[in-house]
């Protein structure tokens, strides 16, 4: 019996088609992506079993297409590529990756003129990105759930009261629907853009006619397809994955939130370059081992950058072209960047450059001994090409360092607050996550991060000085709620048991929903995490202090909605995430953690008092703006404790000891100010077409990329 192959091999561009036109890069630009094998869909009488939607009328459910294996599209477990071009109203024939001829030659050969290759390319790169996340997170990637509203069935909800809104209408309930596949449209529109749509759970790629600044780099009016760029596909896929982990990160509440989305997407795309061995070796040889000099690995979206009229790539982590001299030069941080650059992409580049610099320091320290050996201690490499063995060794170190940095960044995502993230929070998350898993930081990876962030003026708030110790979060004070916590951890352990060996993504989603929301209308009943939190922590000042969320009595005065679930009035609070994180460190030490994200929203109005100072007043969903606060709770299952509470408080923690509950004034004013920009702040496009705080409801990433 033959074993299943571990991989499906698919040919594709390492970067984008433009590099195949240059002599020096054409050889390394065509690579083979190794994608986790998805079984070919069964065929009946040689034909594919057609997978229509379960209910064509409501459009709910996605049917079996791709569920039982990879079908033409490609459509598999995670992705569903539909090649429809609405600008000319045409569908293109889907590529059948199971076709024996295609299988035998590792997929279609790269070609800009064959749309089936475009489909193969988006599938290959998006799957590669998903695979990288799964191996770092240690759990399957789930797309963010679709939130729909429905009118509750009056009969079935006998034991929960029917709620009525201000206008006397029965309040609709919100349902979270499982979305199995991310839809990919490789040819969705005609513009120099590509974006992730949180509403459609889809990636939309555009194509456009080029306007090169230098016609020797590209033919004018040549079509440029964003779906053929590794960097753009990886970037957009990362937006989708991040939205599945932190849904609130599409809400711009400070200048860093969307910039973080952008930066994180760029970081993933950049570090994926280091997973292509031939590219890496080539670039190590070209740069003679100095990755801080101009090289392909640190550049993003080269063809796109040239096509919209630039001299080089769209973004570059280490340098840029001077538009007058057309010469590349490295960018040195000034320390002012974080304070002065506000446009999300520019701001995101600060974070990308910081992480890349951390990588470079790590790489340099890892290869220092190799260079000493190769140069007999002089540190000066001989003229001419590097010795191939040295190139291989340097490449191996670069690849390792890149993998470490990538993993550190992805792991840190679990240690970020659920709302209102800033770059300082991310730095603390990287340091804390790494300290948790790697006890002995003998290569000073953490210092490399701290140093690179410091050079760009990124300092977390509320930190006395920059050191690994002060940047790692401390264990929260749980003294008088210790017993309750123990019970909670026990419950979370049950959740882990239920989910531990589950590989089906839909089951993981359903079980998680069940443990959050509970089950009350069937036996055996299950009291969910949400109800447990409310029952256990009603009016618990200790829990309020560590979570920053309101559990006290006067929530209505603070503009917080009322929940009448479980037949009693409570301040509304949302469990926005529940994850298991099981990780193994380099020394074999394991960490078993459960991550819980809580979010609470207040609806507020900003007025002015007689002195002209801002006055925060409670409002409703219709009359006010939403301010969310929340926390990420990390429970350690082995020591049965709440290890961290990483919070962005909704309420003023400082006043809780005086038994005063009020909105966190500093955060509230900052959010309001940011969401109501003055003329000239923010982009002109946003000012014309946007709706301030509501932009997350109208294709936030399309807005962001358009300017």
């Amino acid at each position: 019996m033959l074993k299943k192959p571990p991989y499906r091999k698919l040919r594709g561009y390492a970067f984008d088609p433009s590099l195949s036109l240059k002599m020096d890069t054409s050889l390394i630009n065509e690579i083979i992506y190794k994608i986790p094998w998805e079984d070919n869909q069964e065929r009946a009488n040689g034909k594919y079993i057609s997978g229509s939607a379960e209910n064509p009328k409501t459009g709910r459910g996605e049917g079996n297409r791709g569920k039982t294996g990879l079908s033409p599209g490609p459509c598999g477990e995670y992705l569903d590529v539909i090649d429809y071009d609405p600008t000319v109203n045409k569908f293109y024939a889907p590529v059948d990756l199971s076709d024996e001829y295609i299988l035998a030659q590792d997929g279609l050969s790269p070609s800009a003129s064959n749309p089936q290759f475009h489909q193969q390319m988006v599938y290959a790169v998006a799957m590669t990105t998903i695979k990288n996340f799964e191996s770092a997170l240690g759990r399957p990637v789930l797309w963010s759930a679709r939130k729909t509203e429905y009118v509750p069935d009056l009969q079935r909800t006998a034991n929960t009261p029917i709620e009525v809104d201000e206008d006397g209408q029965v309040k609709k309930k919100i349902r979270e629907e499982y979305v199995r596949t991310l839809r990919i449209y490789p040819h969705a529109f005609r513009d120099a853009n590509a974006y992730y749509s949180p509403q459609k759970k889809a990636l939309l790629f555009g194509y456009f006619s080029a306007k090169p600044a230098d016609v020797t780099l590209q033919m004018p009016d040549n079509l440029t397809f964003t779906c053929l760029s590794h960097d753009i596909i990886a970037h957009e896929t990362t937006h989708a994955i991040l939205d599945g982990l932190h849904r609130k990160y599409t809400e711009a509440t400070n200048p860093d939130v969307l910039a973080f989305h952008e930066a994180f997407a760029d970081i993933i795309a950049l570090f994926q370059h280091f997973t292509f061995p031939e590219v890496l070796k080539n670039q190590i040889a070209v740069t003679r081992g100095d990755l801080a000099s101009q090289n392909l690995l640190g550049k993003l979206a080269q063809e796109f950058g040239v096509a919209i009229g630039g001299y080089g790539s769209l973004r570059d982590a280490i340098g840029k072209f001077d538009s007058d001299t057309n010469e590349w030069h490295p960018i040195r941080p000034t320390g002012d960047e974080y304070r002065t650059l506000m446009e999300p992409h520019e701001r995101g580049s600060i974070l990308v450059a910081a992480v890349f610099e951390a990588f470079l320091s790590i790489y340099k320290s890892r290869v220092a001994d190799l260079l000493r050996i190769a140069t007999n201690g002089t540190g000066i490499l001989p003229q001419g090409e590097l010795q191939p063995d040295l190139v291989n060794r340097l490449a191996a170190e670069a690849s390792k360092a890149a993998q470490h940095v990538l993993n550190m960044c992805i792991r840190a995502i679990d240690y970020c607050p659920p709302v209102d993230i800033n770059f300082g929070d991310f730095l603390r998350a990287v340091i804390t996550a790494d300290t948790d898993l790697v006890t002995d930081d003998n290569r000073d990876y953490r210092l490399a991060f701290i140093d690179a962030f410091r050079k760009r003026g990124i300092y977390p708030t509320g930190i006395k000085h920059l050191s690994v110790e002060s940047l790692s979060y401390a264990k929260p004070a749980t003294k008088d709620i210790e017993d309750v916590m123990t019970i909670l951890v026990k419950f979370l352990k049950e959740y882990r048991e239920a989910i531990n060996y589950q590989t089906d993504r839909e089951q993981i989603f359903r079980i998680t929903q069940l443990y959050i929301g509970g089950k009350y209308d069937q036996k055996p009943a299950l009291v969910g995490l949400h109800r447990r939190l409310i029952n256990k922590f009603t009016q618990s000042i200790s829990f309020e202090k560590l979570s920053g969320i309101m559990f006290g009595r006067n929530w209505k005065e603070l503009g917080i909605n009322t929940s009448t679930a479980y037949l009693q009035e409570n301040p509304a609070v949302n469990v926005s995430g529940l994850y298991v994180a099981s990780r193994v460190g380099p020394n074999g030490n394991k960490s078993n953690q459960i991550i819980v994200q809580l979010v609470q929203t207040a609806f507020l109005k900003m007025e002015k008092n007689s002195k002209g100072e801002p006055l925060i007043q409670p409002a409703t969903e219709k009359t006010g703006f939403g301010m969310s606060g929340g926390c990420t709770l990390i429970f350690d299952l082995d020591s049965v404790i709440l290890k961290y509470s990483i919070s962005k408080p909704l309420i003023d923690i400082g006043r809780l000891d005086d038994n005063v509950h009020q909105i966190d004034r500093r955060r509230c004013i900052a959010i309001h100010k940011f969401q109501n920009p003055l003329p000239g702040e923010g982009t002109q496009f946003q000012a014309y077409f946007g709706m301030q705080g509501l932009n997350n409801l109208n294709e936030p990433f399309n807005f962001l990329h358009t300017h």
Binding site: P94, R183, D191, I308, S323, M691, N702
Partner: protein, 488 residues
């Protein structure tokens, strides 16, 4: 009665107030007598006949139905739609001479290229906007989002987007050419409206030109600042620190988008297909269209049309940059009245690019640059309705320092483009102008409301300046114009 003796001694500037848009009458006087009537633009966003007629009547009356010079700055509706709406009255007014920018000259091949290109952008935009407007009319978004959480808000934000786009498109007065005919110019439009009559002299001006000795306007020099001849300036809009580096021309990156919207016959449509026919889906694998259509919430039928948003903005800016920008100068005192139309950053920047103008100082002619003209400016018609990109900073406002300076802004909150409400007024620019004019700053719309919008937390206005502003503006409360006189 007009006299040829002596020089013009003062200019009375009358800003007609209808709504956001420019409509000026400058009366050039010798002593107390009006010697020369100079009209600049006639427009208002969303303006109608009933609104324009009383103002144009007033214009006809006080000019005795004779305009010596009409200046038409650029082709946006908020500068020219009054000519059409009140064409009945305009047909009774004699226009001696009309000035346009060189971009309207049908004998200029570069200008014809621009216009052909602009006309294509305009057509593509109106087609896209038309398609999107039909969607909102049909209630498409309401239906599409009915099941979604926050569906009503999602539909509202789409409607807002389309409304803003529609408003932006209303600025464009486009006229499709007859087959085989060249693309129409504003000259053709104004002839159609019977503004330009048989004996009206039509002239096209170039940057660097200085027009002197116009009959009855003795002692006045008209220096032409823009629009620039160099196309690369037209696509530049304001950028922080004024170091704008992007050279994205809308016509090129958007070529594929525009060509699919303007394709007229099947052959042209086919040439727009990105791939060969052999790749199109046919026959057996037909479950993909079914699957696509079964999940309405994931469809992408109309999303591609939203690209019109950024195209419309770039298009607006590049047309603003074709504004005929004039510096009107008294020979004796060297004082300048600056009328930049809606020039954006690229236009302002081009004034400083090796251009000089013939200026009379004493009895000699000297060639002076833009900094000199800005330094001598005592009246400023604020560019682009007080938006932050209608006035350059380092190359503009920073160089205007005359203590006598007064300014007028054609901004109104009642009749305004919805997208402009969030970009106008620029509080920083307005505060700077209030300071520089010491309160001699006039607003077309309700000055109380505009002043309130200007007073954000980040700016301060001197009490004395505010009082001066109040005093000057309130005189015209309830009147349909505001006036300011500059003596030479």
């Amino acid at each position: 009665m007009a006299t040829t003796e002596g020089n013009i001694s003062s200019i009375n500037i009358r800003m007609y107030r209808y709504g956001t848009g420019d409509f000026f009458l400058l009366q050039l006087k010798k002593g107390d007598d009006v010697n020369f009537n100079l009209m600049i633009d006639c427009g208002c966003i969303g303006g109608a006949k009933a609104g324009f007629d009383p103002l144009v009547d007033d214009l006809a009356t006080i000019t005795n139905n004779k305009i010596d010079l009409l200046v038409v700055t650029h082709e946006h509706a908020d500068h020219i739609n009054g000519f059409e709406k009140s064409k009945a009255i305009f047909s009774t007014i004699e226009f001696e001479r009309v000035w346009f920018a060189w971009t309207e000259d049908i004998d200029d091949p570069t200008a014809n290229d621009y216009r052909q290109n602009r006309s294509k952008v305009g057509m593509a935009l109106s087609n896209a906007v038309g398609k999107l407007n039909r969607l909102t009319e049909k209630g498409h978004y309401k239906k599409l989002y009915q099941d979604e959480k926050d569906g009503a808000l999602m539909a509202a934000s789409k409607t807002h987007f389309i409304g803003a786009l529609d408003d932006l498109n209303l600025l464009n007065i486009s006229k499709k050419p007859a087959p085989g005919e060249p693309y129409p110019t504003m000259v053709d439009l104004l002839k159609d409206y019977n503004v330009i009559k048989e004996n009206t002299l039509v002239e096209f001006l170039e940057p660097g030109d200085t027009v002197i000795e116009l009959e009855n306007a003795e002692g006045i020099r008209f220096h032409v600042l823009g629009p620039p001849r160099d196309a690369s300036y037209l696509n530049r809009t304001e950028k922080k620190g004024e170091n704008y580096e992007k050279r994205e021309a809308p016509s090129q990156v958007y070529f594929a988008f525009m060509s699919v919207l303007t394709a007229e016959d099947p052959a042209e449509q086919k040439s727009n297909h990105p791939f060969d026919d052999e790749y199109e889906l046919k026959g057996s694998a037909g479950d993909i269209p079914v699957l696509y259509a079964s999940q309405k919430w994931r469809e992408i039928e109309y999303d591609w049309l939203y690209s019109a948003g950024s195209l419309a903005m770039k298009y607006e800016s590049s047309i603003n940059n074709t504004s005929l920008a004039l510096a009107i100068q008294f020979e004796n005192s060297e004082k300048v009245l600056l009328f930049p139309g809606d020039a954006e950053f690229g236009n302002w920047q081009s004034w400083h690019d090796k251009l000089t103008w013939a200026v009379k100082i004493g009895n000699a002619i000297e060639y002076k640059d833009a900094s000199y003209l800005l330094d001598k400016t005592v009246f400023y018609k604020v560019g682009h309705h007080l938006s932050h990109n209608g006035t350059a900073r380092g190359l503009g406002i920073d160089l205007i320092n005359d203590p006598e300076l007064a300014a007028m802004a054609t901004l109104d909150f009642v009749k305004i483009n919805s997208g402009w409400l969030s970009t106008m007024p620029s509080d920083l620019l307005a505060a700077e102008l209030i300071k520089k004019t010491a309160g001699r700053f006039f607003f077309l719309g309700d000055w109380r409301k505009i002043l309130k919008a200007i007073k954000t937390d980040r700016i301060t206005i001197k009490k004395a300046h505010e009082q001066q502003l109040e005093q000057l503006n309130s005189v015209f409360d309830g009147k349909n114009f505001l006036e300011w006189e500059v003596s030479g």
